[in-house]
Amino acid sequence: MNRYRWRTFGLEVVMVVAAAVIAFPVYVLVNLAVRAPSDTSSPIRPTTSPTLANFTQAWREGGLGGALVNSAIVTAVSVVIVLAVSALAAYPLARATARWSRGMFLLIMLGLVLPFQLAALPLYQTMRDLGLLGSVWALVLFYSGLQVPFTTFLYTGFIRALPQDFEDAALIDGCRPWDAFRHVVFPMLKPVTVTALVLNAIAVWNDFFTPLLYLSGSSQQTVPVALAGFVGQFVADWNLIFAALVISIVPILLLYFALQRSIINGFAGGLKG
C-alpha cells in the first residue's frame, strides 16, 4: 500500500492510458478547431498548419461576445442570491429542533426530486404574464429558486457538523441572531460556500433547456443557446463549430482550474457531514 513497486508502475500506466482515452475527444476538438476548412484529412491526424481564423470568424458571426456577457450576468447574480438565501435558510433549519424546522427542511428537499420539466411549462406562462420572457432576469429569478434545495442541503449538512459554541457565545453576549449569523456563522461556512459557488456556477452556466424556453426568439441569449443557434446555422462547418465550442468552454474551465482544489475537497467535507 505504501511503497512504489513494479505493480504500482503497472497501475500508473493503466491509469494514464485511461486518462488519455478520456482526453482523446478534447484533442480532436482542439485539433479541428485550429484546422482550415480546406484540410480534409483524417480528424485524428495532427493539423499541419494550424490557424486561428476559425476563432475570429466564430467570434464575429456567433454573437458569442454578447452571449458570454449574458451568461456571466445570469450566473454571477443568481449564484450570489442562491448562496445568500440558502445559507440564511440553512441556519435555522440545521439548528432549530422544532417540528416546523424539520417540515420546512423536507419541503425544500422535495425540490431535489421534482423534475423541473413539471414546473417549467406553467412557469413559462407566469414569466410571459409578467413580461419577463426574453429577458435574462427571468433566468436569474428561475435559478435563484431552482438551486435553493441543493444549496440549502449542502449548507444544512455542513452547519450540523459545526460546533455550536461560537454562536452560543455570541448570543449570550447579546448578539442578535442576525448578527450572529453574519459575523460568526457565515464566515465559518467558507469551505462549503466555495464548493456551493462552483457547483452552482457550473449548473447555471451550463443549463440549456431553460434559456432555450425563456429566451427563444429574443436577442438576449446565453452561451448554450447561442451555440445551438450557431450549430444550426453552420451545420457542416465543423471547424468553425469546434472553434465556437472551444471559446465557450474557456471561462468555465478557468473557473474550475482556479478553484479545483476546493471543489474536490468540498466533496470530502460533504460526505463526512
Partner: protein, 314 residues
C-alpha cells in the same frame, strides 16, 4: 438590507453557561424567518408551478388559448396508447439504469486507481473531473461529430485495423441510444470518481493495514474493508446518476434530437416536442407527471435500500 428583530427574542432563560435555572434544555434557536427568502423563491419557481403543472395534466390546454376543459385521466390514457410515449418511457429507463451502472462502475475503478501511491494521482484527479465541468450541450455537439460516419471514432477504428467496426453510430437506431449513454458516461464518470474518492479517503488507514497484515488479497480487502465504508458515497452517487439519467434532456437534444425517428426520444425530449412544436400542453405536462412519478419511485426505492445498507455498514 436591514432585518428587524422579530417578536421572538433570543431565549433568555436557558444558556449552557448559566445552568442555574433549567427550562427544559431549550437553547436559543435562530428564527424561522431566516428561511423565508429561500422559501419564497423556491415556492415561486418550483412548488407553485409544479402544483399548477399537476392540475394542467388533467386538462386539454394547448398553452395559448384562454379556455380549456378538464378532461380527467384522458391524457394519461392517451400516454398508455401512444407508441411514441411508451417508447420514450422505455428509453428513459434504459438510459437511467445503464448510466447508473456504467458511470459508477468506471467512476469507482478510477477512484480506486487514483487513491493509490501512483505519481500522477493529483493531476489525474483534476483532469478526470474536468469533462463534468463542460457544458453538456458542448460535449454533445463534440461527440455528434466524433461519432459521425467520417468522425474521429471511425478514423481511430480504421487506424488500428478495425475497419469492420466502423459504424454510423448516431444514424443507426439500434446504436444511437447506447451512443447517448456512452457520451453521458464519458462526461460524468469523473464526477462519480470524485465522490467515491472522498469516501475512500474517509476509510481509516489502520483498517487497511490490519487487513494487509491479515494477508487478505486486494479483492477481499475491497469487499470486506472498503465497500462498507463507501456506503454513503454509493448513496449519493447512485441517487445523482439515476435522477440525472431520468431527467436527461440537453445531451439527447444536442446529440440526436431524439432521432433517428424516435429511437432516442426520452420523456424529456418528448415533453419539449409535444408542448412547443405540437402545442399539446396538457398532454405534455401529463408526461411530466409520469416523469415525476418515475423519479419519485426510483429515488425513494433506491434511498430505502441504500439507507438500509448504510446502517448495516456502520
Amino acid at each position: 438590507m436591514t432585518i428587524t428583530p422579530t417578536g421572538h427574542p433570543v431565549s433568555t432563560g436557558d444558556r449552557r453557561s448559566v445552568p442555574l435555572i433549567s427550562t427544559g434544555g431549550r437553547r436559543s434557536a435562530p428564527p424561522w424567518w431566516f428561511a423565508a427568502p429561500a422559501l419564497v423563491l423556491f415556492a415561486f419557481v418550483v412548488l407553485v408551478p409544479s402544483a399548477r403543472g399537476l392540475y394542467y395534466a388533467f386538462t386539454d390546454w394547448d398553452g395559448l388559448s384562454p379556455d380549456f376543459a378538464v378532461v380527467g385521466l384522458d391524457n394519461f390514457v392517451g400516454i398508455t396508447r401512444d407508441p411514441d410515449a411508451r417508447q420514450a418511457i422505455w428509453h428513459t429507463l434504459v438510459i437511467a439504469v445503464s448510466i447508473t451502472i456504467i458511470q459508477n462502475g468506471i467512476g469507482l475503478l478510477l477512484a480506486l486507481g487514483v487513491n493509490t501511491v501512483i505519481k500522477s494521482r493529483n493531476v489525474l484527479r483534476v483532469f478526470l473531473f474536468a469533462p463534468a465541468v463542460v457544458t453538456p450541450i458542448v460535449t454533445a455537439y463534440l461527440w455528434r461529430n466524433l461519432l459521425g460516419p467520417d468522425g474521429a471514432v471511425n478514423s481511430l477504428l480504421g487506424a488500428v485495423g478495425l475497419d469492420s467496426w466502423r459504424q454510423d453510430w448516431l444514424g443507426d437506431p439500434q446504436l444511437a441510444l447506447w451512443a447517448v449513454v456512452a457520451v453521458v458516461v464519458w462526461q460524468f464518470a469523473g464526477y462519480s470518481m470524485v465522490i467515491f474518492l472522498a469516501g475512500l479517503q474517509s476509510v481509516p488507514k489502520e483498517l487497511y493495514e490490519a487487513a494487509a497484515i491479515d494477508g487478505t488479497g486486494p479483492v477481499q480487502r475491497f469487499w470486506s474493508v472498503v465497500r462498507p465504508q463507501l456506503a454513503p458515497a454509493f448513496t449519493i452517487n447512485l441517487m445523482l446518476s439515476i435522477i440525472g439519467g431520468i431527467k436527461l434532456f440537453d445531451q439527447v437534444y444536442a446529440l440526436t434530437g431524439g432521432g433517428p425517428g424516435h429511437a432516442t426520444d426520452t420523456i424529456s425530449t418528448l415533453i419539449y416536442k409535444d408542448a412547443f412544436t405540437l402545442g399539446e400542453f396538457g398532454y405534455s405536462i401529463a408526461l411530466a407527471v409520469v416523469l415525476t412519478i418515475i423519479v419519485a419511485i426510483a429515488s425513494t426505492g433506491q434511498y430505502t435500500v441504500l439507507a438500509r445498507n448504510e446502517r448495516a455498514a456502520s
